[in-house]
């Protein structure tokens, strides 16, 4: 599905991604974990086209999309729920979800996906007419995920969906991610909550200061001493 080869990204003199490579296969949940500042967000932003890499390739279903605009990538099936939710605060919940389907023209299908999102997050349905800025953090995260689903993506990029949420909500969000994946969407999940992420992921990559230092199945990394020590608190 998605393949990243030897990707380098700079912010001025800062070398944020140092030649990383990773693969996400069709139907998988792959997680990218690592400490703050490791380069996880930059990786996702480069995949979705918000940040231009200095070198390296991004391949989606065999097609090189490295030079494409963010807009073209949405059309190709990449959807990105960014770090910090980034919902449109002055728009209603419904308008936010409609923005997610911005490039689509198939009205009946959009209506069907809207219903799917409301079924997934009933609280959003109750709050359709409410400005997104007035939602709680958890509800905004649900909206950000719902909005990302409205483009009917092939691959969903999620950046720290559990950030700042109460444990019960975190559990709920992770259940939903698993459900979305079961329903057929491939997921690349960035998390600082390594424990939770590794539990639902098929495979995982560990990032440190711009490089990938470890990868394996979720199960393997949960057992790995290195990961236990650095990310799982012992």
């Amino acid at each position: 599905m998605l393949e990243i080869n030897n990707l380098n990204v700079h912010f001025g003199v800062i070398h944020a991604l140092k030649g990383i490579s990773l693969t996400v296969n069709d139907g998988e949940i792959v997680t990218l974990i690592g400490a703050n500042g490791a380069g996880k967000t930059t990786t996702l932003r480069t995949i979705s086209g918000l940040k231009k890499p200095t070198s390296g390739d991004i391949i989606l279903n065999g097609e090189n999309i490295t030079g494409m605009s963010a807009q073209q990538r949405v059309n190709k099936g990449i959807s990105h729920a960014p770090e910090g939710r980034r919902v449109f605060p002055a728009m209603t919940v419904l308008e936010n979800l409609e923005m997610g389907a911005y490039l689509r023209k198939d009205k009946p299908e959009i209506a069907r996906d809207l219903k799917m999102v409301y079924d997934l997050f009933p609280v959003l349905s109750d709050r359709q007419k409410q400005p997104a800025g007035t939602l709680s953090g958890g509800e905004q995260q649900m909206l950000a995920i719902g909005r990302a689903l409205m483009s009917r993506p092939k691959i969903l990029l999620l950046d720290e969906p559990s950030m700042g949420l109460a444990p019960l909500l975190v559990q709920e969000i992770f259940n939903i991610i698993r459900g979305v994946n079961k329903a057929g969407t491939t997921v690349l999940l960035v998390e600082q909550n390594a424990m939770m992420a590794l539990q639902i992921a098929h495979r995982a990559y560990v990032m440190e200061t711009g490089s990938i230092v470890l990868h394996g199945t979720g199960e393997e990394l949960l057992q790995s001493d290195q990961v236990k020590k650095a990310y799982l608190g012992g």
Binding site: V74, H80, P82, F88, M99
Partner: protein, 294 residues
């Protein structure tokens, strides 16, 4: 009482002009955080296009209005494309200085082609010259036209911004550019469209001023531009209904100050209001106080 109503009617005419100009300032600020100093000159050029259409080409008012709006639309898009887009990631001060440069360029180019002399719109005849009396209150066709056209344009603007896809994209980009891009919105196109809308409204304001006050000149945009900017800040910069409200309030205040014999102070009063708002309510009447503004 009748004098009061008369003043309000006159104030609405002037306020309509300020509101139309203020909308352009506020929309552009909302989307790229730039105070577009050249905006007042687009209004001036709108007045000149109206003049050419009505005086030289002998066109009627409505076709001239459309021509003026269309010309300004193209001008606004062109200015954004050539002058501002290359500076999208530059510092705000660089963009601001560029805007001042564009403003001077438009003023002196107009002087070059049309001379610095005042031009006068053709005097209105027939229906356009009519006035209506209700008791002691006088209202002219021009005043009615200004008020009605302004309201129509504002309603259209609201429909575009609230209901159309590109309008929603405008709102999305002004709230969060990155998130908008992730929706598949083309940010550049959306910014161009914002300039187009603002410039069309400024063009309309230009020709309306032409038929109302008759005389135009290449520097006519400067003072109304500043006042419209005050109106935008007054209502809350970046907020569309705020610019509308601010325009009317500033127009009515100005007319009152002049009407009650303090005509010399009318500009001073407007700027005193600006200073007052910046101290008391920096986010403007309809804005939320979030710290950083202007």
């Amino acid at each position: 009482m009748e004098q009061l109503i008369q003043q309000i009617i006159n104030g609405i005419s002037l306020g309509s002009i300020y509101a139309l100009i203020a909308l352009g300032y506020t929309m552009v600020y909302g989307i790229i955080k730039l105070i577009n100093f050249a905006h007042c000159d687009i209004y001036m050029i709108g007045a000149y296009i109206g003049y050419v259409c009505m005086s030289k080409l002998g066109l009627g008012f409505l076709p001239s209005l459309l021509a003026s709006m269309l010309f300004c639309t193209v001008l606004g898009i062109t200015i954004e494309r050539i002058a501002y887009r290359p500076l999208r990631n530059a510092t705000r001060i660089a963009a601001l200085i560029t805007a001042i440069g564009v403003s001077l360029f438009l003023e002196y180019t107009t002087m070059f082609f049309a001379s610095a002399n005042v031009r006068t719109y053709p005097s209105m005849t027939g229906f356009m010259a009519k006035t209506y009396k209700i008791g002691d209150i006088v209202i002219s066709t021009q005043q009615i036209l200004i008020a009605v056209i302004t309201v129509i344009l504002m309603v259209l603007l609201q429909v575009i911004v609230k209901k159309t896809k590109i309008g929603k994209a405008m709102r999305a980009v002004s709230m969060d550019k990155d998130a908008a891009e992730l929706m598949g919105i083309n940010v550049d196109t959306t910014i161009s469209f914002t300039f187009a809308l603002g410039s069309a409204l400024a063009g309309a304001a230009g020709i309306l001023v032409g038929i109302y006050y008759n005389s135009i000149n290449p520097l006519m945009g400067v003072l109304p531009g500043l006042k419209a900017f005050v109106a935008a800040v007054f209502g809350g910069i970046g907020i569309i209904p705020g610019a509308m409200l601010g325009g009317y309030v500033i127009g009515i205040i100005e007319v009152f100050v002049s009407g009650y014999g303090y005509s010399m102070y009318r500009d001073a009063v407007v700027f005193a209001i600006l200073i007052l708002i910046l101290i008391v309510r920096p986010a403007g009447l309809l804005g939320k106080n979030t710290g950083e503004k202007v």
